[in-house]
Structures are given as C-alpha cells and as structure tokens.
Amino acid sequence: MKRVVLDGISKSFARGGGAKAKVFDSLSLELGDDEFTSLIGPNGSGKTTLLNIIASVTRPDSGTVEIRTQHRGAPHIGFVWQDYRASLLPWYSVAENIAFPLRISGQGRQERKKRAESLLRMFTGDVRAEQRISELSGGQQQLVNVLRSFIDDPDVLLMDEPFSALDQQRRWTLALYVQKAWLAAPKPVLFVSHDIDEGVLLADKILLLSARQGKIQRTLHNPLPRPRTIAMLTAAEHLACRKAVIEFLADEGLVQGKD
C-alpha cells in the first residue's frame, strides 16, 4: 500500500455573486513510499490547495486523504512554504527554528540543539546554529525551512514552490540540498514547482494537474539515476519529460500569453 493516498477529492471555492469555482473534481493520487513526486500545473489549477488538503489545513468538500504514519498518533507532515521569511521565527536562533517541531513535541533544549546542529553540519558550514535568522541570506533562510521540514522524520513532505523567491543560482543549490536531505532520509515528497526544469530534474514522477479538468491529467516518469546533477538537464530523458510538460502547459492555454 502507498504511504499517501488521495481518493475522489472534490473542492469548490465561493466566487463573487454566489457563483462557485470548482478546483478539483474527483481527483485521486498516490505518493509512493520513497518517491519524489513533482506537481506541475498552470496558475489557478489549485496546486497549493492540494498541498493544504493533504496537510489538513483545508478540508475537501468530498473525498478522503489517507496518510499511513510510522509514528504514534497523528501523521507527521513536513512543509516548506514559498515565503520563507513569513514562515520562520526571527526571534529564535537558527537551531531553534530548525528544531521547532521538536520543541512542540516537548524535547529538551540540549537534544534540540544537538539534532539541529548535526543536520546543519550535513549541508553547510556557512550557517551557524546560534545565528539569527535576519543574519542569513534568502537562500540560507530557505535552507533552514527545508531542514526544519526534515527534522521530525515526517511521513510525507510537502513543498510549495520553495525556491521561486530565489535567484537561479541559489535555486539550484537549494534543489540539490533538498535531494541530498531526501536521499539521506527517503520519504514521499510532493513538490510543487513553477520551474519546469527544477520539477523534472528532482522528481521520479511528475504529475500534471489540469486546471480545466480539476484532476491529474497525466503522469510522467523520470528514469534518470540518483543523485541527479545539473548536467542531467541536457539528458535525453530529461528533455523528453520537459517536452511533455511544455506540451501539456500549451494545451492548458498557458503559452497563449494568458498567464
């Protein structure tokens, strides 16, 4: 059985004048145990809403979300927000931010510091555990966000366009950090991206979410070996996936300049 299963999800939002906008119409999807899945779709196709439904921030009108947890009690969910500044706690140190989920579950200060520091050391020597958030660059702040999402051994990891506020170079650095963290502790990931290359390169499976149909229209597979590298952006398999994504987006009316 898959770790995360969504079945028959429907969701509408109220529009002005009593009208309703249908976002999902009986959408179903599964995330495999150690599978990195990207979700690509035009604006307004409800990518963020879908993440929020999985995280039970938003309730679907109908349908079920099942997350098989390895922990006692409620499933642990890791989440990386696009707006890293708004989701960090600037009044705490880097270590306290990374270990915040542990603080919530009642772990002691020493334990939190130790876990945050060991995670931090895996990735970068530039960021010190006792630093303030305001002293970090945007990329470093988002790294703190990413590490926080990993620290509590989540059953599923949800990433909502995590790098779109960063410049190209930082974006790739972070993308490879995410891959590294994930390879060290594999778990189902649903990664929403606006950037086609990024979404394809990181993923085993690429879900194409149609705004018109309100469901997953197509699933692509990226068979390239791990770890993925920037050089693979020009591999035939990558380009084939990329082509399929672009054709899908064109079909959705994105390339007509409506975006």
Binding site: A74, I77, A86, L89, W91, F100, R103, I104, S134
Partner: protein, 252 residues
C-alpha cells in the same frame, strides 16, 4: 561620517537656540520680565540641582508617572493579547477601546478627583487611564496582524494553542505593543504634569512649574521647564534602548 563630526552636528541645534535666546535677550526683542537671560537661567538651574532642591519633585513626578505607565503597559498588553487572540472579543470591544483612547483623559479630571481625591492615587490613576487604552489597542492590533503563515506552520507541526501563543503570537505582537507603549510614555508625562498643576500637589515638577508661575519667579519657571524637558528626553531614549533589547530580531 566620523563619530566626532556626527556628535558635533547634534549640538548645532541647541547651540543655535541658545544663541537666538541670547540675541533676543540682548536686543530686548521679548519682554525681559518674561524671558530671563540664559546665564540667569543656567545659574538657577545649577542651584536647583546642586542644592538638591528639585530632587524630591523629580522623584515624585517620576515615581507616580512610572507607576501609572508601567501598570498600564503590563495590563494593557495582557488585555490586548487576549482581545486580539479572540476575534469576536476584538470585534465586540474595538470600538469601545478606541472611544476611550480618543477621549482626552483630562476631560475626566473631575471624576478622578471625585473618585480618588487629590493625592497620589488620583494622579497615578489618571496616568494609567491615559496609557492603558493605547497599549491595549496596539497589542490587540499586533495579534490581529500577526503572521498567518507562522501560525499555520506551528499548527501543522502540532503546536497547542498555548504553545502558539507563547512562542509565536507573543513575539509577533511585541513590536506593535511597544509602539503603543512608546506613545503611552509620552501621554504619561503630559498627564502627570498637568495633574500636578491642577489637582495641586505637595511635590512634583508640574507643581513646581505652577508654583514658580504663581510667584512670578521667571528664572525658576524656565529652569524647571528645562529639567522636565531633559527628563522626558532621557525617558524616551531609555525606552528606545529597552525596545532594542527586547526586539533584537529583524530589520527595524
């Protein structure tokens, strides 16, 4: 800019003012019985401080004012955090609090005298009322405008309402609460001085100003005004220092 030059530039304003004062006195531009010379004022100022004459008044004003201000800050912040955290409560009370914040507390002067008499309690109560609403409103406002993503984040990682409040909402609302307190600090000094003048008082800077005015002791009047001004200035500076210690994150 070099520090020396920067500090030097700061003295330009006071020096200019002093110069104009001297010129106005020398050329008799203003009635000399209304404007003493800077030298006479300085001498009186020095006497007031050196003899310790002004000490009890300074202390009395400071203590009463701070008693009112600090209790208003603590109670106002707690009230604001609670009101801001419970949305229906905020909607129910916002208008009322805004009304009392907008009502000049000096209008209530007779009521304070009737309820509390003319002693310390009455003045402290007046300072308290002048300050508490602006702190409450700003704290509540800070909570209402606290980052929604942060709260969502904490909720997602399983934080209880108490944890969210202690680790997120409190800090998120702190800068706005402090803005309220800074305004309240200015109100406090104004109201304390005015209360001393009108309620009458044994000691206090406001009382001394009024007393100097009644005796027509113009040197005293100017000297005490200067002392009060310096005290207000130092209080504000001190508050900014505390504020920077408390809110030591992010861009200011």
């Amino acid at each position: 800019m070099r520090p020396l030059i920067r500090y030097g530039l700061r003295l330009v304003g006071p020096a200019l003012l002093l110069y104009l004062w001297q010129v106005a006195y020398d050329w008799n531009l203003l009635n000399r019985s209304l404007l003493p010379s800077p030298a006479d004022t300085a001498l009186r100022l020095w006497q007031l401080i050196y003899t310790g004459d002004i000490g009890p008044d300074l202390a009395a004003t400071l203590v009463r004012m701070l008693a009112g201000f600090m209790s208003a800050s603590v109670i106002g912040m707690v009230l604001g955090l609670v009101i801001g955290g419970v949305r229906p409560l905020y909607q129910a009370l916002e208008f009322t609090i805004d009304f009392f914040r907008s009502l000049p507390v000096t209008t209530l002067y007779p009521l304070f005298v009737l309820f509390f008499g003319i002693g310390h309690a009455s003045k402290i109560a007046m300072v308290f009322v002048a300050s508490v609403f602006v702190v409450t409103l700003n704290s509540a406002y800070g909570v209402v405008n606290a980052g929604a993503v942060r709260t969502q984040m904490a909720r997602l990682y399983g934080a209880t309402a108490t944890q969210r409040f202690r680790w997120i909402t409190f800090y998120d609302a702190l800068p706005q609460s402090l803005i309220g307190m800074r305004v309240a600090l200015s109100y406090s000094l104004i109201v304390e001085i005015v209360a001393e003048m009108f309620m009458g008082s044994q000691v206090g800077l406001g009382q001394r100003v009024f007393e100097a005015y009644s005796r027509y002791a113009i040197d005293d009047l100017y000297a005490i005004i200067l002392i009060t001004g310096v005290m207000g200035y130092l209080l504000n500076r001190l508050f900014v220092l505390v504020e920077r210690r408390l809110v030591d994150w992010g861009p200011r």
